[in-house]
């Protein structure tokens, strides 16, 4: 299928916060209530439309367990977007965000868009982390924030699509070097708007060079 852009995402966060469920809900539109531990990394993909353009999302869902941390780090560099997920019913998963963020910032390219996700918003009665706290954390670290429920699908689409929008805007602004595939962005094979893309690529080239 033809696409204008291809974005690579990673999903990170503590074990059991619902990373794989978010992906499953987004790609297959279903929910899996049993926690099946992710081993290493799993792959999923879906097409979305932004600004009338087909955008292919390739998503790598990483294992949250500490044992896999060194493996999952290899995925930061090549990703254009990251969903950093915590569980609103478990305070510790929120407390670990700083570590995750440090890790991500250290190993990724500086333009990577990070979306902070407070998952399991359907479990309001067991909530341990207030929405305001998530918002504050996101504001403090310059992230986009959203509460989702992989179970009811609330905000799941939005989380993935808003991240893509953010990346798309950065491309338009020329922040990303789209010719460097190491940034996690690829121009589609049938993308014929060569002039615009080329110009933004040129501008992005300088910025990209500076950051790397």
């Amino acid at each position: 299928m033809a696409y204008a852009y291809l974005f690579k995402y990673i999903i990170i966060g503590d074990t059991g916060v619902g990373k794989s469920c978010l992906l499953l809900q987004f790609t297959d539109k279903r929910f899996q209530p049993v926690h099946d531990l992710t081993i290493g990394v799993e792959f999923g993909a879906r097409m979305i439309t932004i600004d009338g353009k087909q955008i292919k999302l390739q998503i790598w869902d990483t294992a949250g367990q500490e044992a896999f941390r060194s493996i999952t780090r290899s995925y930061y560099r090549g990703a254009a977007g990251a969903l950093l997920v915590y569980d609103i019913t478990r305070r510790d998963t929120f407390n670990h965000l700083t570590t995750w963020l440090e890790d991500a910032r250290q190993h990724s390219n500086s333009n990577m868009v990070i979306m902070l996700i407070g998952n399991k918003s359907d479990l309001e009665s067991r909530r341990e982390v207030k929405k305001e706290e998530g918002e504050a954390f996101a504001r403090e670290h310059g992230l986009v924030f959203m509460e989702t429920s992989a179970k009811t699908a609330a905000n799941v689409e939005e989380a993935f699509i808003n991240t893509a929008k953010e990346i798309y805007e950065k491309i338009q602004e020329g922040v990303f070097d789209i010719n460097n595939e190491a940034n996690g962005i690829k121009i589609g094979p049938q993308h014929s708007t060569g002039g615009g893309a080329g110009a933004s690529a040129g501008a992005g080239g300088a910025a990209g060079g500076g950051c790397c």
Partner: protein, 796 residues
């Protein structure tokens, strides 16, 4: 070598005349030089010399120089040449292959490279050092580092994979080298990545994530696809590594539209004179392997089906079919293509339909399937090709009632078109051919047309064969039973038993038809009872038992002599249930059974090994317990003479036991009554006893109170009186004594006062005495000194 020697001379100085230094000595001196020289040039020269010696004297260089070389990598990083020598030396030491120079030397152990590798990787930092050197752009350094890593990986694949996996950016660094414009480095990197990705799913995923498929397809296309050199093969081998048993990567491959990118690989050349170079054969073979990996029956059904759809829709399946029908294709490529086509359509109706519609460019045009089957029943074709056709045909029929029906249709009398050859006719021909393999292939192929398809099982019963001219036609099933009884060949018998089992399971009309065939049941019973001891005989006995059980279980009692019950009795009498189950279990114990049960595709090396088919294993597994259960359950319900006899026995036994039970019950009642009486008596006795006890206690208490009251007062009074007298006496005494004391005190005070007066008087007298003495002295009268002293003394 002369150059080398002179080089050594310049480094080491000329040897002393008449004394040739041994290799070990030289190595030792060189290592010392690397360690101790302050000048970079000297260290570099020594490293160069070490490198030169490391092939012939690898044990010495490794044993003495390993540590030094590691240090050198760290300390002399700035000098690319030195680093290059170090890396090459290390690579020589740890090389997995034996050098020409050391072939003669018996002191070099076979796995010396592996041993040194083990030493080298003990410190993980060493791997990091080499990985860091990949960042160096200098050709020699980068190239040598890649080679060294390849050697290390060859020697200790798992260990190094694990180390690299936890090094941040370890895999990514190597992936970057694929983009190196210097082809030599790119090609070496390919070899490195092939080793790196072998059998490690996590590394495979990271490599795929780092855009490996894009890079590889770029290289493959720039090298001219299948016409390219060995680099294309390397790229394909790497892809194969990334995809094998890695569903995440297969998914990624599919989602990344890489299946479509494979298409140009299978473009068959238009002009036929362009032959197949060995390299092209290898390239296409790899590509076919990739196709098969994507649609392998061991993948999840979801992945298989979506890959098959894409392959069909993008034209890949057509391209593969074109190879099938092209001329001049080497046999092994053809075989593998047939397998790939098979797996490409297996269970996917649209793809199966597409395969069924392919026409061979023959005159008249025949369906490709028919042409393939012609090869299958042709003795002259290579064995592996015939196996592949069977597999492909099985895949074509798999889960597809339409293709199953169309096969059976070609055998039915109404539709027979005399002029054209049909697949059904080919299979029947194969069934009755004198070639054992053709029998086997045809039986199994026919069997696959009947799997889970009762309609076709009944349709196939209608098939009639004209055996001899003039004689009346016989049914296909009848003919199969005749063949079964006549055949002397194991493979043919097994094949027919498999076909009949599949045909008759869940199909009572087929069972009836079989039971009506003369000699069929007798043959099965004889086979099952046969007592020959041989692995293959066991298998035949077991399969016969299986078919017999099917005859009983799926029997609708439409054949008088062989009703369900009569067959059961026959089985119990002639064989016995235990023997029967034992024989049945022999089937799954056979080696060929466990081999076939593993994978839908036949995995046999030689034609003689071919025996059991995957689908038969499935049928057997599903029915075995059902059959045994149905036989045993029915047996206990049976109403035979034996049963009535034993029933009578049991009845009398029960009666006896009943009488005895009654007797015992009466005894029990009597005993209970007695027990009750005793209980009552006991209660009486107990209550009496307790009453007496109470009384006793009461009396005891009274007695003790009475005894204690009487003697006490008299004793007390006496003592009291005595004490009072004593007390008054003592008080008087005290009074008297205090009076005395008082008087004495007064006396003492008085005496003290007298003493004071006397002392005063004495002092007066003393002063008077002194006065008189003075006066006497002044008058010149001598005074006796003694007197006053004596007086004083006496006073004191």
């Amino acid at each position: 070598m002369d150059f080398l020697k002179s080089g050594l001379k310049t480094v080491l100085g000329a040897p002393e005349p008449g004394q040739q230094p041994s290799g070990a000595d030289t190595v030792e001196r060189l290592v010392e030089r690397v360690n101790n020289s302050t000048l970079l040039e000297d260290r570099r020269d020594a490293c160069r010399a070490l490198k030169a010696m490391s092939r012939k004297y690898r044990v010495e260089v490794g044993a003495q120089g390993m540590h030094t070389l590691q240090q050198c990598l760290e300390l002399d990083r700035a000098d690319n040449e030195t680093i290059n020598y170090c890396l090459d030396t290390l690579n020589n030491i740890m090389s997995p292959t034996q050098f020409e120079e050391e072939e003669e030397n018996p002191n070099v152990p076979m796995n010396i490279g592996e041993q040194f590798t083990e030493m080298f990787i003990k410190n993980h930092q060493n791997i990091q050092l080499v990985l860091d050197l990949l960042d160096e752009y200098d050709f020699r350094v980068r190239f040598s580092a890649v080679q060294l890593l390849t050697s290390l990986l060859t020697n200790r694949t798992k260990d190094i994979q694990e180390i690299i996996l936890v090094k941040p950016m370890g895999v990514s660094k190597m992936m970057d080298l694929l983009a190196d414009t210097r082809e030599v480095i790119r090609n070496e990197t390919l070899l490195l990545l092939i080793k790196l990705t072998k059998g490690n799913a996590n590394i495979q995923k990271i490599v795929a994530f780092e855009n490996a498929f894009d890079r590889l397809f770029e290289i493959v296309s720039s090298e001219g696809y299948s016409d390219g050199g060995i680099i294309v093969e390397d790229c394909l081998l790497l892809m194969l590594n990334l995809l094998k048993n890695n569903s995440s990567n297969i998914n990624f491959f599919k989602e990344g539209s890489f299946i479509q990118k494979m298409l140009p690989m299978f473009n068959t050349p238009d002009e036929e004179e362009v032959g197949w170079s060995p390299q092209k054969v290898s390239n296409v073979h790899c590509m076919l392997q990739i196709v098969r990996t994507l649609v392998s029956p061991s993948n999840s059904a979801q992945i298989i089906s979506s890959c098959q759809k894409i392959m069909k829709n993008c034209g890949l399946l057509d391209s593969l079919c074109n190879i099938l029908m092209a001329s001049g294709v080497p046999a092994d490529i053809l075989t593998e293509t047939i397998n790939a086509v098979g797996e490409g359509v297996r269970g996917e109706a649209a793809a199966q339909r597409a395969l069924g519609a392919v026409l061979a460019p023959s005159n008249p045009p025949r369906p490709a399937i028919v042409v393939l089957l012609m090869s299958m029943v042709n003795e002259k074709q290579p064995f592996s090709l015939r196996c592949a056709v069977l597999y492909c045909f099985q895949c074509y029929l798999y889960h597809n009632e339409t293709s199953q029906a169309s096969l059976v249709q070609t055998l039915l009398p109404s539709s027979t078109d005399v002029s054209s050859l049909t697949s059904g006719q080919l299979l029947c021909g194969g069934l009755f051919s004198s070639d054992v393999l053709s029998n086997w292939f045809s039986s199994v192929a026919l069997m696959h047309a009947l799997i889970d398809n009762n309609a076709q099982k009944e349709q196939l019963l209608r098939v009639l064969l004209a055996t001899n001219i003039g004689s009346s036609p016989v049914s296909l099933l009848h003919q199969c039973t005749v063949l079964l009884q006549q055949s002397t060949k194991l493979q043919s018998k097994v094949a027919l038993l498999m076909l009949l089992s599949q045909w008759m399971s869940n199909c009572p009309p087929a069972v009836s038809a079989f039971l009506r065939a003369p000699g069929a049941v007798g043959y099965l019973v004889t086979q099952t009872c046969s007592n020959e001891h041989d692995e293959n005989e066991y298998l035949l006995q077991g399969m016969s038992a299986f078919l017999l059980a099917i005859c009983i279980h799926f029997n609708d009692d439409s054949v008088d002599n062989y009703s369900k019950d009569s067959l059961k009795q026959l089985l119990v009498k002639r064989i016995g249930m235990e023997t029967f189950s034992a024989k049945l279990s022999e089937v799954s114990r056979h080696e060929a059974y466990s081999r076939a049960a593993k994978h839908p595709q036949l995995k046999v090396k030689a034609a003689s090994d071919i025996l059991i088919d995957y689908e038969f294993c499935k049928l057997f597994k599903g029915l075995e317990s059902v059959l045994i259960q149905s036989l045993t359950v029915v047996q206990t319900n049976g109403d035979t003479e034996e049963d009535t006899e034993s029933l009578a026995q049991y009845k009398s036994l029960i009666r006896q036991q009943d009488a005895r039970l009654h007797e015992l019950l009466q005894q029990l009642a009597a005993e209970t009554q007695r027990g009750h009486k005793l209980q009552a008596a006991l209660t009486d006795a107990t209550s009496e006893n307790s009453r007496l006890k109470d009384e006793n206690t009461l009396l005891k208490a009274q007695l003790s109170t009475a005894a204690s009251i009487q003697p006490a007062p008299s004793v007390d009074a006496n003592i009291q009186l005595e004490y009072q007298q004593k007390v008054s006496a003592l008080t008087d005494e005290v009074n008297r004594l205090s009076a005395v004391n008082h008087a004495a005190n007064e006396e003492l005070a008085r005496t003290k006062k007298d003493q004071d007066d006397l002392l005063e008087l004495l002092a007066d007298q003393d002063s008077k005495l002194n006065e008189y003495k003075m006066r006497l002295l002044s008058l010149g009268q001598p005074v006796e000194e003694d007197l006053p002293t004596e007086a004083e003394q006496s006073l004191a």
